[in-house]
């Protein structure tokens, strides 16, 4: 078979992404049709910048969802004749093409790029959610109570922030550290805070309805506790509390350490932002009103202050997912944590950079993918900021 021309490659790629185009079209049609009923999300469709950002982000979300329909080849199978082959080269048996060429081991660059989106879309938002829960649970009382508690927590946060990120990764994400069980101990502390957050949230809300509150809090404790133990306990490691039958969540040690270190790096910044917002909001009249009414501190923090701080927090959430994506890429770039086989973008760039001068495409393709996702998140944050300022 003949190698494909650039136009034919583009057409073939666009065709491969067909499920994504359909999903995007449906999302946009529905959202624009009902945009007046959808609050801040609906108003996003009034700003061009926001729409472009949202489209870029959703493109990668849908790509991650429909990976199996989009990929053209298995991401791990190697064809030795296809090493470093240019985009559009047909494979030896003539049945198909490597749309974006082959990498240094003869794997399909296009399929690996598509498959790599899954790693980012799975880890980055979840890690950011965890970082936010940790930052909010610690930042609210620090800002609201102030004093010694604030001083101690701020000192700890500044301590983590003074640590150069790459040095931290190099110290935390090594096989030796995983051997000592340190990531699991860190996970024990970090994952406890989201459960604490949910319990405090529900307890303060339904405190006046004790029966209902008891049921809700018990449910959170049972399911959250089970998920918590399942996450941190893993067979044949230092922490193995839960019996095998109950341990439903299996997280490989290297993914857990990547997750934990990314949460650990992000949480102090979120803490600082939340603390600053609380210091500002707690001087408002409606807070004094709530205090005069006799509301308890955690109710005021979680149900009076937090909802009023949502604007800046949502914007920062989008930016922070982008930053987390960059951090994940950095980890992959230095070959830390994720296995070298993994199709995630950072690791692929790392594998491709050694031959960059001869064959740039294996590194170039994931680089563009990562850039477009981060750009989309930044544009989305900009759009959201503009729209939320219009209130």
């Amino acid at each position: 078979m003949e190698p494909l021309s650039w136009g034919a490659i583009l057409a073939a790629i666009l065709k491969q992404f067909l499920p994504v185009w359909i999903a995007l079209a449906v999302t946009f049609a529905l959202s624009i049709a009902y945009k007046r009923k959808l609050g801040l999300y609906g108003r996003l469709f009034d700003s061009t910048v926001g729409m472009i950002g949202f489209a870029l982000v959703m493109f990668w979300v849908f790509t991650a969802l429909f990976t199996q329909m989009i990929v053209t080849h298995d991401t791990l199978s190697q064809i030795s004749q296809m090493k470093n082959k240019l985009p559009g080269t047909p494979i030896p048996d003539g049945s198909a093409w490597y749309l974006l060429g082959g990498d240094n081991l003869g794997r399909d660059v296009f399929s690996r790029m598509v498959d790599g989106s899954g790693v980012v879309i799975k880890i980055a938002p979840l890690a950011t959610v965890f970082a936010f829960m940790v930052g909010i649970t610690l930042g609210l009382p620090a800002g609201y109570y102030g004093g010694r508690l604030d001083m101690a927590l701020s000192f700890l946060a500044n301590l983590v922030l003074a640590f150069p990120v790459i040095l931290l990764f190099y110290l935390l994400v090594t096989p030796e550290i995983v051997q000592t069980g340190l990531p699991q101990y860190m996970a024990m502390v970090l994952f406890l805070l989201p459960i604490l957050f949910l319990v405090l949230l529900l307890n303060s809300r339904f405190y006046v309805k004790p029966n209902f509150r008891n049921v809700v809090v018990a449910l959170v404790l049972v399911f959250g506790g089970l998920a918590y133990l399942g996450l941190i306990s893993e067979a044949e490691t230092k922490i193995n509390i839960l019996p095998q039958a109950l341990d439903l969540i299996h997280v490989p040690a290297n993914i857990l350490i990547v997750f934990v270190s990314v949460v650990f790096v992000n949480a102090p910044t979120v803490f600082r932002i939340v603390r600053g917002l609380v210091l500002d909001i707690k001087t408002r009249d409606y807070i004094s009103a709530a205090q005069t009414r006799g509301e308890r501190p955690w109710y005021i923090m979680l149900w009076e202050i937090l909802p009023n701080a949502r604007g800046p927090l949502i914007v920062d959430f989008c930016l922070r997912i982008g930053y987390t994506t960059i951090l994940l890429g950095t980890l992959g770039f230095f070959g830390l944590g994720l296995s070298p086989e993994s199709p995630d973008w950072g690791s692929t760039i790392n594998a491709g950079r050694k031959l960059l001068v001869i064959a740039p495409h294996p590194a170039f393709v994931p680089a563009l993918a990562l850039m477009s996702l981060v750009l989309g998140l930044n544009l989305l944050a900009d759009g959201l900021r503009e729209e939320s300022l219009k209130d």
Binding site: F155, N158, L159, A162, F163, P164, V165, I166, L167, Y170, L171, L172, T174, P175, E176, I177, Q179, T180, L182, G322, I326, G329, T330, F333, F334, G346, I349, G352, R353, L356, V357, I358, A359, P360, H361, A363, F364, A367, L368, L370, M371, V374, L375, L377, N378, L379, D382
Partner: protein, 361 residues
């Protein structure tokens, strides 16, 4: 003011102490020491031999004790074996143990010996920091003027076409981490098979095969435009995006102030308003941002030096971590932590100095 600076210094010293202790703990974990024993002693040692090697070479005992020795507040360990040979932390091999100093740690200026470079850590660090210093200097010379100029140009007329295009550029570059822009720049300018170089070479505009060089190993000895442009551009691009956005926001805010409107109504020309009235007030916020960029530049340096194989501080850090070189890694950490803390301090104090509202109160 003096009290403020003293307080900041105290806090900084405490932070540095805690951070170095954490790094010391993480680099001296049991598996790291075992690996060190195998590398320095012999690969075929059994578990008992490893334990005794660790004990013999001063890596046993309490963590606090070892940290204090490393810091130089406790006397270094001294041990005499069965053959009557006295060895110790402060005794260089072959010298007279009686003449060796009792204390030798960071505070005495003794940073230990690097097992990877087979040289004193201070020497290795000094050499690599000098290389990185040149890189940083050029980056700063490119990054700061360009981004301040772009930011002021975008912010002086908010919403204009110039503002829109500069802002888009700034968002795009600040969404591009160094390992992406580096890859893209190399593919565009330094690859013999793709990008601009083959085109320029066929037109006969450039002498070599590529416009710029994809590695900067040679730049350690001899910096040229050819081998230094790409690493500098890669680091500067990210910072330019960020500082431009900050300057633009600050400038746009100043331009809406009452005194600008007053000057405008009095008939002062637009150029004169921007240069004489707005610029000074608009540059307070970017100053802090530029200072706080240093820690991030440190990250950029590690990535770019690995990507372009430039043997500076970042490259040394990666090698130290990859080769389990405990002393060198500790030295790198001390430098990195100090850079971050000192820039935070300068940015805090500088902010107070620059901002008259804070300075007077």
């Amino acid at each position: 003011m003096l009290k403020f600076i003293a307080r900041r210094f105290g806090l900084m010293a405490l932070t540095a102490l805690v951070l170095t202790f954490i790094v010391f703990t993480l680099t001296n974990l049991a598996p790291n020491l075992e690996k060190l024993a195998r590398a320095e002693g012999s690969v075929r040692m059994d578990d008992a031999a490893i334990v005794s090697w660790i004990e013999e070479n001063g890596h046993g005992g309490s963590l606090i004790g070892r940290y204090s020795q490393w810091l130089g507040v406790l006397p270094g360990w001294v041990r005499t074996d069965e053959k009557g040979v006295t060895r110790g932390r402060c005794i260089t091999e072959g010298s007279d143990p009686a003449l060796a100093p009792a204390y030798c740690g960071i505070l005495q200026g003794d940073w230990g010996t690097s097992t990877f470079a087979k040289a004193p850590v201070s020497q290795v660090l000094g050499r690599s920091l000098a290389s990185t210093g040149w890189l940083m200097l050029v980056v700063m010379l490119v990054m700061v003027p360009v981004s301040l100029f772009l930011g002021v140009a975008a912010g002086m007329r908010e919403g204009s076409r110039l503002d829109r295009s500069i802002s888009t550029f700034a968002i795009a570059t600040s969404a591009t981490p160094e390992y992406i822009s580096g890859v893209i720049l190399i593919a565009l300018f330094a690859s013999a098979g793709s990008g601009l170089s083959p085109l320029l070479a066929s037109w006969g505009w450039i002498e070599g095969k590529t416009l710029f060089m994809g590695t900067s190993t040679s730049a350690v000895d001899n910096i040229t435009f050819w081998n230094f442009t790409l690493p500098v551009m890669t680091i500067a691009l990210y910072g330019i995006g960020y500082i431009t956005r900050m300057t633009r926001a600050s400038m746009a805010e100043v331009m809406t102030a009452q005194y600008i409107r007053t000057a405008r109504l009095k008939g002062v020309s637009f150029g004169s308003i921007v240069v004489k009235h707005a610029l000074r007030n608009a540059l307070i916020a970017p100053f802090t941002v530029i200072m706080l960029q240093f820690p991030w530049l440190l990250n950029g340096v590690v990535i770019v030096e690995s990507l372009f194989n430039y043997k500076g501080f970042g490259w040394t850090l990666v090698q130290a971590a990859g080769n389990n070189d405990i002393q060198l890694l500790l030295g790198c950490s001390v430098v990195a932590v100090l850079v971050v803390l000192v820039t935070q301090l300068i940015s805090d104090i500088g902010y107070v100095f620059l901002n008259p509202r804070i300075r007077i109160s």
